[in-house]
Symmetry: C2
Subunit: 318 residues, 2 copies
């Protein structure tokens, strides 16, 4: 028997979930951050026939409307099942995050759905639980249980996932940072970007990479930009994925030469993330990265965003 | 040409270097801490014939007296060479750290030697440089360039080595901790403990271990004992080395059951390190660990020590 009760008189709710960037170079599958630039919205309307239906997906085409194939509706289904919520919901998804942009679009839709549902509950579940539910959606999108987009999407800020079972997410402090996201118009699917990774890594590389991860976490706590610059080195994943993106190392070099603290893949790519210490610098770095992609004949979109400290939330009615 | 000058009128100096414990479970080859319990002393007396001679090693037998085989004199030789110091020194080593006790005895002697020499210089070198010189000694003892004992021995506290070249050591903050070191009377050499490690690790384990390392560093910064307890998990090295020590997992379990925050290898073993949050608790944990080793017919020595915040230093004449 479930103790979950729905609030009286609430029939429709909209939640916003921000774009995110996962891995951050040193933290493959464990680090991620929330962006302020864009996000997805999900509106849920209560039904009484027990069905979960996607009514509409705005702004993008090609996403599945079948409830058990779409990340948002699948996460919602699982949360309803586990909490024994049987009324059913109609769902409208407003995609603010471009498809394949490396900014966690599938995670954001799933998170917006479960955060919206949480708003219906008299006893809302914890943020850790929301991550778990949203992960069901992420699983059908990426083929694995990776919370590095979902966790910052729910919690905001920069997050470290210590454990998936039990779910444990740690919010890291951080200095003032501006994130540049560059989305080159190349097709790289998360599943194939994961497929090319060797299943084993040398112990020696593990030690070197651990040292960089450890130092980067120290840099976040100490808000030490120069230590961050030295330690944001990815010795394991980047060398294996760089050739998926034409001009990757030249674009990275262009970013660093223009003053970026680091430039790396956003998630599994092809998008790239650069950290900058000011907005002016972020603009300079953006232009340099775009110019280099252009030199390789590649069009790209760009976003500049501070880190979003809040994560997903219910949009209150006016 | 060297700019190094020796201070006038200084002919004899003694330095103390503390015992250390390396790895700390989650930080293979990169984390270490300094102990307050014991340490080695090295006394240098200036000569004028250019020779480096070991006059005496007190308290232990079996250490090499040949200057290029002993960790202390070899480190001193290298430092003299690189700084172009040609007078020569006589050396007396007072070993406070028991041989093979897993408390960084070879590192401590090397560090005491280079710290003593630094006291002769009008322009002393940096602590990073001292780590580099002492590492030459560590290399002949362990067959590799591992600074995880040398760094905390020089710097004190808990240290993370981000990079060996250039040398970069980060001092971590930490909550009040009492360390228990248990030295079972078993022979395990550093070189062979290293030799059994597989040269590759699964990517999946790397991700899980990175998460624990990252969380442990967060726990040190946040001085969060419970987070430390959850995150001090070694999924990579411990399973490979546990069978080198009879009863390892039972002793570990006895420690944890008695309230230890973590129990793991001290360095490459056979000694074990446990973290406790009070002295009373450390005494309880010590007894439990000793009793379990005894049950396996193994004698053991024990030390209880807070973390030494200062590292190696020159002992001033009275």
């Amino acid at each position: 028997m479930s103790n979950v009760k729905l609030k009286e008189g609430v029939n429709k709710l909209t939640a916003f979930a921000p774009a995110t960037s996962a891995n951050l170079g040193v933290g493959f599958d464990i680090l991620g951050l929330a962006l302020d630039a864009v996000g997805d919205k999900v509106t849920l309307t209560k039904r009484d026939d027990g069905q979960i239906i996607i009514e509409k997906i705005n702004s993008v085409t090609g996403l599945p409307l079948e409830p058990n194939k779409n990340t948002a509706s699948y996460a919602l289904q699982k949360m309803c099942e586990e909490l024994d919520i049987s009324c059913g919901f109609s769902m409208q998804i407003d995609k603010g995050i471009a498809m394949g942009s490396g900014m966690g679009g599938s995670a954001a839709s799933a998170v917006a759905a479960v955060v919206a549902l949480n708003g219906f509950l008299s006893n809302p579940v914890s943020r850790e639980k929301l991550v778990e539910y949203a992960l069901y959606g992420e699983e059908i999108a990426s083929g694995g249980r990776h919370a590095d987009n979902v966790a910052p999407c729910v919690f905001g800020g920069i997050t470290l996932i210590r454990s998936l079972a039990p779910m444990e997410v740690i919010n890291l402090p951080y200095p003032e940072l501006y994130c540049v996201i560059i989305h080159p118009h190349l097709q790289v699917e998360t599943k194939s970007a994961r497929g090319i990774l060797k299943p084993e890594i040398p112990l020696k590389k593990y030690v070197e990479q651990s040292a960089q991860l450890g130092a980067a976490i120290c840099a976040f706590y100490q808000k030490d930009i120069e230590l961050l610059r030295r330690s944001m080195q990815d010795l394991i994943i980047e060398p294996q994925r760089a050739n998926l993106v034409t001009g990757y190392y030249q674009v990275k070099e262009a970013a660093l030469k223009s003053g970026a603290i680091t430039a790396t893949f956003s998630g599994s790519g092809p998008s790239m993330l650069a950290f900058c210490d000011s907005k002016a610098n972020a603009e300079k770095v953006t232009l340099a990265m775009l110019a280099m992609f252009n030199k390789h004949g590649i069009e790209a979109d760009q976003w500049i965003s501070p880190i979003n400290p809040d994560g997903a939330y219910i949009i209150e009615d006016k």
